[in-house]
Symmetry: C2
Subunit: 305 residues, 2 copies
């Protein structure tokens, strides 16, 4: 491992991915394991870290991790940084794990306009990996997922963000509600679009509109093979409608958004965003590794050569 | 059973309740059984009917039933009547079950302003039981439940209605999502109110707001014992906000609503409605039996003496 300068770990709830990074943060190797925070039995984090490092911990390479590993259920809690938060604030708030060379990146917390807190942990690192070093204009980054995140970043780093439970709502409704019982697994882009459009219309009301997945199937307007994608579309449309209004209240009505994360999900989001006339570009796929390198660099753990 | 004039059955998905009705539809006796449509094995409806009648079918008393027994998964399908639908339309659309004296009340179907169908099956009978015989003014009836229904009735009977999946959303989120994992069962009216108010505010966005049940607990603004009621309040507030806008579009912004159904749930709805400045009165608890009697009477199955 003589050319490895940093071990950077994206350590989430269900899985973890360790990147061995060389000069300039170039990826030397990647190791994934189902060793997420929820799957590591009490006290087993040190062993899990060894596995992620290929069997034994290097004694001369610094380590950095972000994600749920820093949550209350993780190894050592890294308290949320307040927004706005840039590289300096994050780098100054790294939390070391006693007895190791590992530092954990804190999550971020913001207060929305209704004074309700919102939190992010892990995705902020991807955002820092996707931002240019000198941010000049404000930009919008969307990270689809179980809890998708819309992030506004600017010269001060992450300005604010909002969480939408779209992925989790889809999963619980698909698996446990009456709507899932009607569905036959399939891919139906037209049904997806129909759902998105229905939630984007004026007077949309999700708790009512969800029932249309049932009535449209009952009246055979929607085929059983379309129910899944229609439901997904309704939820996605509700997220986009709310996020669009949220951006407009922050003078970002016409922003192009960058999508970060799973490629298939990003393409699905881009399709839905187009129906709302929001332009979307796909961001770099190695944003987590890049973000960890750059945070480590700002913290002086590595020199950016 | 010499003074019984009609056996009236509220026959739902999970349970059934049979009322023996005497002159003027007065309730002589009631029998409940867990013989809902989903629990009666294929072809067992005749046996279930005997049980509901106390062991054997009376050979000289007419029978009427409403609810899921008339659905595609029921005994005999009673196709949906189109709205507006009054007593005459319903009475003319009863469907007889071959080989029995049982008639089944159809459900109702309406098209909302976006041309999406909505359906009701069972609750329409309660509405007909709660209406006065000569409806003069339009009124709003709310039936809380797994799928709560807001019904607008007027001189032509049921004018239109809207379904909200509030109860089912609460159940799946409570049981299967990250929000349920934070909750400790309790009663917390202040948390309920907080959730309702949060969803009633301008710019409410349910898929985002749901996450506040997590962040408010995380930041200890909300006690674990308040998470359940806060979540319930968010969903209830989202229903009321959407229904209020729906009523306003139909010139019923200032209507007093009548709550029909489960008493505890009705009280909970009345509390939440008050926060939206919607006055609510509790309707009669025997609305299903009254509705079945009156439909049977309009169909000439009984004379209303």
């Amino acid at each position: 491992m003589d050319d490895v300068r940093l071990i950077a770990i994206d350590w989430g709830t269900s899985s973890a991915r360790a990147y061995a990074l060389g000069d300039h943060g170039n990826v030397v190797s990647v190791r994934s394991a189902p060793l997420g925070v929820q799957r590591v039995a009490g006290g087993g984090f040190a062993d899990a870290l060894s596995v992620l490092c290929g069997g034994e911990l290097p004694d001369d390479v610094p380590l950095i991790a972000s994600g749920m590993i820093g949550s209350r259920q993780g190894w050592v809690e890294a308290p949320y940084c307040r927004c706005p938060a840039g590289f300096e604030a994050i780098a100054a708030s790294l939390v070391g794990v006693p007895g190791t060379r590992l530092f954990i990146v804190p999550g971020l917390m913001c207060q929305d306009i209704d004074e309700v807190p919102d939190v992010i942990r892990g995705e902020e690192t991807q955002v820092f990996g996707a931002l240019s070093d000198r941010i000049v204009a404000r930009q919008v980054i969307v990270l689809p997922g179980t809890h998708s995140k819309w992030v506004i970043a600017g010269p001060d780093g992450v300005e604010t963000f909002a969480t939408f439970m779209t992925g989790e709502l889809y999963a619980v409704l698909r698996e446990h509600s009456i709507l899932g019982r009607l569905a036959l697994a399939s891919v139906d882009d037209a049904a997806l679009d129909r759902g998105v459009r229905h939630s984007l219309r004026q007077n949309a009301a999700l708790t009512h509109d969800l029932f249309s997945a049932r009535t449209l199937a009952l009246t055979e307007v929607l085929a059983p093979t379309g129910v899944d994608d229609y439901l997904s579309g309704l939820l996605l449309g509700a997220e986009i409608a709310a996020a669009r209004a949220w951006l407009a209240r922050r003078s970002l009505a016409r922003a192009t958004v960058m999508l970060l994360g799973d490629a298939a999900l990003s393409v699905r989001y881009r399709r839905a965003l187009a129906l709302a006339e929001i332009e979307a570009v796909l961001g770099p796929s190695d944003a987590a590794a890049r973000g960890l390198w750059r945070i480590a660099s700002h913290a002086g753990m590595v020199t950016d050569k």
